[in-house]
Symmetry: C2
Subunit: 314 residues, 2 copies
């Protein structure tokens, strides 16, 4: 049995054929038609699905279902994408539209939720209560509770980027101030690095980047810190503290057995993980030597969203 | 069939006989033995259970189980109270100790979780995803997810009082700074009222209370606001904003269908609820006219903990 997984992003549509064990037999991607109608985006997805099935060598009749991971909030029961601002979708009946092109069961889910689900499904030893967060332009997340993807009553749960860290603090894209995402995203890390360079032009980081600020990324501070640079270490310590502060909130609320961190920056591995673990174990609500949430780097990263989407139908 | 519910508090032990529909046939309470051994507290509970059964007129053989709601974190599977600092319990096998006195199945749960469970079980139209918070000396809470009490993998979930509202802000009893509880508890409301009185001794509130500050309670500002006092209205507006800020976080994470507010202060009714609802609907993560969490005053209040504890065994 095989499953189609689609990871619908603001810039690219990724699509793959996945087997029951989560192996991706074949995958391909296409640019997301920009500011286009839902019908056109769905048509593009359907084309991609056909191409991917053909190239995978899998018989069409052996494909069980199509799963679509999309930004925004989903009514997964009815297959309706309720809202996604970055691709301008508002109450789009994705399932119905997709089935006009391909006669297969169609499942939909939020992209970060699909990534959480993919990580969960691919675990050797399952943690029935786990949270996944992804650090990128924003901060996204998903949760598996009692072995099931948790989407809240309206499909919009686990907007982890939009819990408060600093009331009346930095303006967030959501309209509120002080959201976690405004401090703990990789965009915020990059901003912190740029501010440091502006304020310390004679520091090693300042000297290296003041004339080529456009080459600064989230990785810049980590790279400098690894090379023993004080400024880099300061930035990393401050940012990981902010990331950890929000994780303490999530753990104090949900106490998942496992908390996975994904997103490109998680390639920093223990250099990211160790200060986070230290901060969390210091500030977690003291409940008397209870077993504590394990914090790990997500294992499947870029493919988790695609696999999780495919496994919505498994 | 009847069930014994015990609400074990820092000052009192409440105990009642509850029928299948949640009617309390008889209840009584006794002071919690102060700074005493777990064995003595359990002995006191067992005595109370016997007295309550006798007075209720229910046959011992018709009692199904005993449920204990306790402060702190519980290993509900093994009947062990893992940790409760205000009654100095550390890994106490409540079930085993209780069964040395009374031969009945014993269930245990965190007190705020039991209150959440009681409110859920007593609802006419069940909301399988709901959150309950209680505003008092601290801020506690519990969640029902997919129709089951959610306790996290270690029994310590839903410490809603210990999510951050203001990083590096007010010191919290848990050791962290800026927790929700430090701003949104009724203790914090009382502090705000006292500060206002100190800073505005010639205001109506200042004149009334500057010489009898010990009579100030959480209700003081609400009473003044109801009578049209500006100072009272300011305090109520500030405090309800803080309460609502944390609720936005909880909703952005869990998107429960229903969020219930309990604790003595919730008797303020719409005077408490309306500004909270307004704030929440303004600052909630914008997900495009999705159905939104209903926010209501908890219906069963003081008895919810006892009924929820009893219903752990239903």
């Amino acid at each position: 049995m095989y499953y189609i997984g689609i990871d619908l992003g603001g810039t690219d549509i990724k699509c793959g054929v996945v087997d029951y064990d989560g192996n991706i037999l074949y995958k391909a991607s296409a640019p997301t038609p920009a500011s286009d109608s839902p019908e056109n985006i769905v048509f593009e997805m359907a084309q991609l699905v056909s191409r991917v099935i053909e190239s995978s060598g899998v018989e069409k009749g052996d494909i069980q279902s199509i799963g679509i991971g999309s930004p925004g909030s989903c009514d997964s029961k009815n297959g309706v994408l309720l809202y996604a601002n970055n691709i301008n979708f508002d109450r789009v009946p994705l399932r119905t539209l997709m089935q006009q092109h391909i006669d297969l069961p169609v499942f939909i889910g939020n992209d970060a939720n699909c990534a959480a689900w993919g990580e969960y499904c691919m675990m050797e030893k399952k943690c029935p209560n786990m949270v996944f967060i992804t650090l990128g332009t924003g901060v996204g997340g998903g949760a598996v509770i009692n072995g099931r993807l948790y989407e809240g009553f309206n499909g919009a749960a686990m907007e982890v980027g939009h819990i408060t860290l600093m009331r009346s603090g930095k303006k967030c894209t959501c309209g509120r101030r002080g959201c976690y995402e405004a401090y703990a995203s990789v965009s915020a890390l990059k901003e912190m690095t740029l501010s440091y360079i502006d304020e310390n032009p004679e520091s090693p980081l300042g000297k290296k980047y003041k004339d080529c600020k456009s080459s600064v990324t989230g990785k810049t501070a980590f790279d400098a810190a690894r090379e023993g640079d004080d400024g880099g270490a300061q930035i990393v310590s401050r940012w990981t503290g902010l990331v950890a502060e929000g994780l303490v909130d999530i753990i104090n609320l949900l106490q998942p057995e496992l908390l996975l961190i994904g997103g490109g920056i998680s390639r920093e591995g223990d250099f990211l993980l160790n200060p986070i673990k230290e901060y969390v174990s210091k500030y977690i609500y003291n409940c008397g030597n209870l077993p504590q949430t394990r914090i790990e780097i997500a294992a499947h990263q870029n493919d988790a969203g695609l696999i999780g989407a495919a496994f919505l139908g498994r």
